[in-house]
Symmetry: C2
Subunit: 362 residues, 2 copies
C-alpha cells in the first residue's frame, strides 16, 4: 500500500465520475482506494494488493459508506482469490477466512456482509476450476456488484427526485454520495437527479462530527457538480428548520431492518426528530443490499462504538482536557414512524412499515 | 496586551475560584482576562489596560458567556474612566463613546448593554467629581456587578439543584459555567450546587461546535471540580435521549425576552426540541441581568452572524473545499413553551410565560 497517486489510474471507472471511492485494476490484481480521510485537501489513491490492506482501509475509514465498503470488500475477495493457487478445499478455506476478516472490519453496515456472502456463494460454485478462471469469475462478479450499485443509485435517485420540489433547500447528514457508494450516491443521488431534471435545489450539509463527512466530502462532491451547497454545524439544523429554510431532509443508510427502522451515521435520528417536529419530510435513500430482512427491528442492529480520541482530537490537536473522555457511538437508529419514505432501486417504501418492506422483498 | 501570565495574578479573585474569566487589578488600572481560546491547553491571562483592547477581547471571544462579557465591559468602563482626567462634559462623552464601542462588540447578549448602562448611570451622577474619585467609584460599582453575579449564580444554582434528581445524567450545551460568568456558573452552577448537596450527578457535555466550548471549557471546569463528565458531539444528544440516558438538560442564556423566549448558543433550540420529544425537562439558568423586559419575544432578539471560516477552519486547518462557505448564526431562540423553568436569583420562572416574568420583574 506504499504506492499512491493523484488521479484515478483507471480509464473508465465504474463510478461513472472522474473520481471513485474504490476500483479494481483491469488486471484484477490491485485495488485503488481513494484516501477519503485526506479530502478535500488531497485527492490521492492508495494501491492495495492484498485482503489485509483492504480490511485495514475499511476499518480505518480510508473508504466509508455502506455501499462503498460492500464493493471494497467484494474487490478484497477478488484479491484473496488471486492469492490462492491451491485446490478447492484450501481455496474455500482461504476465501472464508478472508470473508470473516472483512466482515469484522465494521459491524453496522449490512452491505459488507451481503457482498461477501455473494462472493462466497460464487466461490463455492467454482472452487474446483483453475486459479486464473476463479479470479476472472470473482472479478466479474465484484464488478457486477459495483455496476449494479451505481445503477441502483440512479434508479432510486430518479424516484426520490420526484418528491423534491423545485426551489427546495435540502438538508443532508453525513455523506451518502458517490464517495459512499459505487458512484452517483444514494441521498446525493436524489439531489443529483433533481438537479439533472432541471430543478433549482440547494443543499445544507451537516458537517457531521466527528469525521466531518459533510464538510469534507458532501460539499466537495456537490460543489464539483455545481450544486449550491453550504456547510452548517450539526447543531444548526434545528434553527434552520425553525426558520422554515429547510424543505426536506434526505440521508443514506447503513442498515434497514424489516420493519423499516433505519440505522445511519450518528446524528441522523436527531435530524429525523427535527423534521417531524417541524412537519417536513425525512427521506432515506439506499440500495436493497442495505436492507436486512433477517433483522426484525432497529434494536437488533449492532451499533459500532469507536474510540474517544476520534472525537476529542481534530487535525492532530486534542480539544478536551487530559482525563476527560468522549463517547462515540458511530450510528443511531431512526424508527420507521419518523421516515416519510425509503427510496430503493426496487421502488419506494411508503408508508414505511413491515408490509411495505415485505412487498418489495419478494 | 502584550503581557500575559500563567496564573491569575489576583490574590482573592471575585470569581471565588482559582481561575476567573475576568478580574480588575487592585489598582483599578488593569484588567486580567483569561485567554479562553487556548483552554484547555494553556491557562493564560492577558493584561489589558484600555477599553479598545477589552472590546477586542469580547469581540474575538477571548472572554465569552453573557454574564462574563457584561462584567468585562463594566471593567472596560473603569479603564475608560481612568483614561480621562478632563471635566464632566468631556468625561461623559468619553464614557459614552467607550460604552458605544463595547456595546457593538457582540449584539445578542443583553448583559453587555445592561452593565454598560449601569456604569453610565453612575458616571452621570459623579461626572464633576475629581478623576481619582470617579475611577474609585466606577471600580467599586464594577466589582459590585461582578460580586452580585457570583452571588446570583449561587442562588439560582441552589434553586435549580432542587429539581435535579439524585443519580441524574445532565445534558448541557456550550459553557454556562464559571468561565462564562463572574464565577460559579449558571447552568453549571445548578450542576455544582447539586453536586455540593451530595447528589450523585454526571454530565454529558455537548462539544458545541464550532467554538467547542463544551469540549474545551465545560469539561475542563467540571473535571477540575471532580464532577464526572463525558464529551459528546452535538449530534449524539438525540441518540442518548432515545436510549433514556439523559435525565434533564440545563443551559444558560444570552437574552431572555419578556414572554420567556430564550436566546442562547446555537444548538440550544435543538436540545430543547429533543428534550420535549423525549419528555425530559429542559431548564435555563440565568441572572436577571439576562432578562430583557423591553423585548417582547424572541423574534426581536438580534442574532449575531459570524464568519464562515470560524466553522470551516479547525486548529488552523480548513475542512471544507475552496469555494464552499459555511453558515454561522451564533445563537438561536428557544420558544418559552419548550422551557420547563428558568432559574434566576429572584426565583424560578415556572410556568415560563409573560405573567411569571412580570411577577419577578417587579
Amino acid at each position: 500500500m506504499t504506492l499512491s497517486q493523484d488521479h484515478l489510474p483507471i480509464k473508465a471507472p465504474l463510478s461513472g465520475a472522474s473520481y471513485s471511492a474504490v476500483e479494481l485494476a483491469p488486471e484484477n490484481d490491485r485495488v485503488w482506494m481513494l484516501e477519503q480521510r485526506e479530502l478535500p485537501d488531497h485527492e490521492r489513491y492508495l494501491e492495495m494488493t492484498d485482503v489485509a490492506t483492504i480490511e485495514a482501509g475499511i476499518r480505518d475509514m480510508v473508504v466509508r459508506g455502506a455501499p462503498a465498503i460492500g464493493i471494497a470488500a467484494a474487490y478484497g475477495m477478488v484479491l484473496a482469490a488471486g492469492a490462492c493457487r491451491q485446490g478447492d478445499q484450501a481455496y474455500l478455506r482461504a476465501l472464508q477466512d478472508a470473508g470473516a476478516l472483512l466482515k469484522g472490519a465494521r459491524p453496522t453496515a449490512v452491505n459488507l456482509a451481503w457482498a461477501i456472502d455473494e462472493m462466497l456463494a460464487l466461490a463455492a460454485k467454482h472452487a474446483s476450476a483453475d486459479p486464473a478462471s476463479r479470479v476472472e469469475q470473482m472479478a466479474s462478479r465484484a464488478r457486477d456488484i459495483h455496476r449494479a450499485d451505481v445503477e441502483a443509485c440512479r434508479t432510486m435517485g430518479k424516484l426520490g427526485a420526484e418528491r423534491v420540489p423545485d426551489g427546495a433547500t435540502i438538508l443532508t447528514h453525513c455523506n451518502a454520495g458517490a464517495l459512499a457508494t459505487g458512484g452517483y450516491g444514494t441521498a446525493l443521488g436524489v439531489i443529483r437527479a433533481a438537479h439533472e431534471a432541471g430543478k433549482k435545489v440547494k443543499v445544507l450539509a451537516d458537517e457531521t462530527r466527528p469525521y466531518l463527512q459533510g464538510a469534507r466530502l458532501t460539499s466537495w462532491e456537490l460543489h464539483r457538480d455545481g450544486i449550491p451547497v453550504e456547510v452548517i454545524t450539526d447543531n444548526m439544523a434545528a434553527h434552520f428548520f425553525q426558520r422554515g429554510e429547510i424543505s426536506l431532509a434526505v440521508v443514506g443508510s447503513d442498515r434497514i431492518a424489516r420493519n423499516g427502522d433505519v440505522a445511519n451515521k450518528i446524528g441522523t435520528y436527531g435530524v429525523a426528530c427535527l423534521a417531524r417536529l417541524h412537519d417536513r419530510p425525512f427521506y432515506v435513500a439506499a440500495p436493497w443490499s442495505t436492507v436486512d430482512m433477517k433483522c426484525a427491528s432497529g434494536e437488533a442492529i449492532p451499533i459500532e462504538q469507536r474510540a474517544s480520541r476520534e472525537v476529542t482530537v481534530i487535525a492532530g490537536k486534542s480539544f478536551a482536557p487530559d482525563g476527560v473522555n468522549a463517547r462515540y457511538p458511530g450510528f443511531d437508529v431512526t424508527p420507521a414512524r419518523l421516515v416519510s419514505a425509503i427510496f430503493t432501486e426496487r421502488g419506494a417504501v411508503d408508508p414505511v412499515c413491515e408490509d411495505s418492506m415485505q412487498r418489495l422483498a419478494r
